[in-house]
């Protein structure tokens, strides 16, 4: 696919692509329409507060399983449609058959997230912004790798990430993005014997006995108390020491890859190794948001992003308190 000029009207179907487009292009102006789930993700986070106009952006362009609603998309007259590239041809063909320019996106690893940023930078004519974002990403990854380089395996805390908790517990095994983040932040994955995301029972979690438990940001009702008061899981080392944290929610959720991933890496690294990684996370978030979204988050917004109301008293969380 070749684009003659930077795109002006983009339809974003993959959920994280809408907020990434906002980040790379610096606002919601080019977002012509998006998937209703992408809109929910934007509105429930800080982007909804930064860009109230996002509420009015149509979200009728995709149905069940990201199947595009071609007529609704055509009505928005887009010059680019973003669609999943790894979920089969059925959700792509209807778009290409009517001649829409489609950018296919694959998802789930750090390399793919970097590809998204560069491709969106090229498509929107914002190469410099994209490159700056990538450089910052590489710099933080490099800094954390260096800080944790001499960590022995046993000095790495065992970290368990729950992708689901409230209805059927599922954890991240090896070859997941969360496994990559745990490693980068100086931990080791307590579920490394599993491949991919897998359901587990509480007895298995006790056998894994993680030092730190991370809870997903997807289940809205989920809070650390669900682990701390769980009749079985409260016997884990993580619960006994209170090191149970819910992943923050900024411009996008911090658990999957996004434009804000390095903030999540720094957050986790400073929780795992406060003696090695010292960072003024609130200032870093404010600085990033300043140039990424052109907005300065208020103290209250920073508190909500870091979920201070439910975990402000947790061990290691003091540096994040305003």
């Amino acid at each position: 696919m070749a684009l003659d000029a930077p795109v002006r009207r983009v339809v974003a179907i993959p959920i994280p692509s809408a907020s990434m487009l906002v980040a790379v292009s610096g606002g919601t102006e080019r977002l012509a329409a998006m998937n209703h789930l992408a809109k929910t993700a934007i509105l429930e986070g800080v982007l909804g507060e930064f860009f109230p106009a996002a509420r009015a952006i149509p979200s009728d362009v995709a149905g069940d399983g990201f199947v595009p609603n071609v007529e609704a998309i055509l009505a928005r007259r887009p010059d680019l449609v973003l669609q999943w590239g790894d979920r089969g041809p059925d959700i792509v063909r209807p778009l290409t058959e009517v001649g829409l320019p489609v950018l296919l996106l694959r998802y789930g690893t750090e390399d793919l997230a970097r590809d998204w940023i560069s491709m969106l930078g090229i498509a929107t004519g914002e190469r410099e912004r994209a490159e700056r974002l990538l450089e910052w990403r590489a710099a933080i990854a490099g800094r954390l790798t260096a800080a944790n380089a001499d960590l022995s395996e046993t000095a790495r805390p065992k970290v368990l990430y729950f992708l689901r908790f409230l209805a059927g517990q599922q954890v991240a095994g090896r070859d997941t993005y969360n496994d990559f983040v745990i490693r980068l932040a100086g931990g080791r994955n307590a579920a490394a014997e599993l491949q991919g995301f897998k359901p587990v029972g509480p007895e298995q979690v006790l056998v894994m006995d993680p030092d730190v438990i991370l809870l997903n940001g997807f289940e809205e009702a989920l809070e650390p108390r669900h682990v701390l008061q769980h009749p079985v899981l409260r016997a884990t080392r993580a619960a006994r020491t209170g090191r149970v944290y819910k992943m923050p929610l900024g411009g996008y959720r911090w658990d999957p890859p996004s434009q804000e991933s390095p903030l999540a890496w720094l957050w986790l690294a400073s929780l795992l190794h406060p003696e090695r990684v010292t960072v003024d996370l609130r200032a870093t978030i404010a600085e990033l948001y300043g140039w990424l979204y052109g907005r300065t988050p208020s103290a209250g917004q920073l508190d909500r992003i870091l979920r201070l109301s439910i975990q402000g008293d947790a061990p290691g969380y003091a540096p994040f308190n305003g």
């Binding site: 789930l37 149905g63 059927g168 095994g173 359901p199 007895e203 006790l206 009749p231 016997a235």
Partner: protein, 365 residues
Amino acid sequence: MTPMLAVPFGPSRSGESARVTVGDPSAHPWRTMWLWTLLLLFPLACLALSLGIGRLAVPPDHVAGILLARWLPIEPRWTEIEARVVEFVRLPRSVLALLVGASLGMAGAALQGVLRNPLVGPQIVGVSSGAAFGGALAILLGAADAGVMAAAFLTGLGSVVVVHGLARVDGAARPLTLVLAGVVVSAFAGALTSLVSWLADPQSTLAAIVYWLMGSVAAASFDEVGLCATSAILGGGLLLLLAFRIDLLSLGDADAAALGVPIEPVRWAVLAAVALLVAGTVAVAGVVGWVGLAVPHLARFLVGPTHGRLLPASALLGGGFLLLVDCAARTLTAAELPLGMLTALVGAPVFALLLRRGVRAGSLA
């Protein structure tokens, strides 16, 4: 052509049932006693196994000590983690698997008798899919466990009411139309469940719904045990009270009516009891298929078609069977295997085998 559904399925007038029930023990008192002893021991042995094995190695004497320490003054030699695993993971989970299996076994046996159809189970007559829709909807709406349970109960019972309403003609419902109405309601409830899945956020509630629909007792708690026990006792008790009338109903409506059985009220009561049993299991464990279909066949093979014996035998076998399957689900790999998948993998071939035997014996058309 004689429709399959017209084949008498239960104690027959001419003693034909001996062909299905080679194990009918009525003529051998000793054998009867041995058989029932074994039937009783089977779930108990499965329970002991289930409490004793798991991903965490807990020595058997510790398991016994942890369980008995509630009543006996035993010096604890076990760790706190061992105690938590046995008390809060294995005990509720094993008891729940036992109750779910027993409920489904009884529900299946009663359905097969009252509908005179060896090939029906709770899934065929719409109860399971109705309850599944209610539960999925409750998850979508963000309901807590109690809400999921209540919704599954209501829609499970509701679908039986609809099935029965659809099948009634001139105040009576024929077994064939009941099954067909069940197919209709199942399809409709299935579509509603698809709609709920479509509405669900793929990053949060959808995965929860999908996992729940696959069936699992991994998150068992004593609250769930209490709920499932209540439905099992009420539904199972009602079925046992009606056992003799189910026997008569399985002779055919005309014969049953001639023998003074109030056909419609009895059939209603049986269907309501079945709905209660199944909704109780769906609420706590999601959709667990095949137990209600396959287990009654095995039970009928062992104790004969009389429901006074068949219902308890199906409960004992169903409970033990699901316990064994759940042991496999939680111990074969570090990840939990979906219970519904395993029951289908085991139940379908077993059912095929039994079906084949029945066909060879000439008792199934």
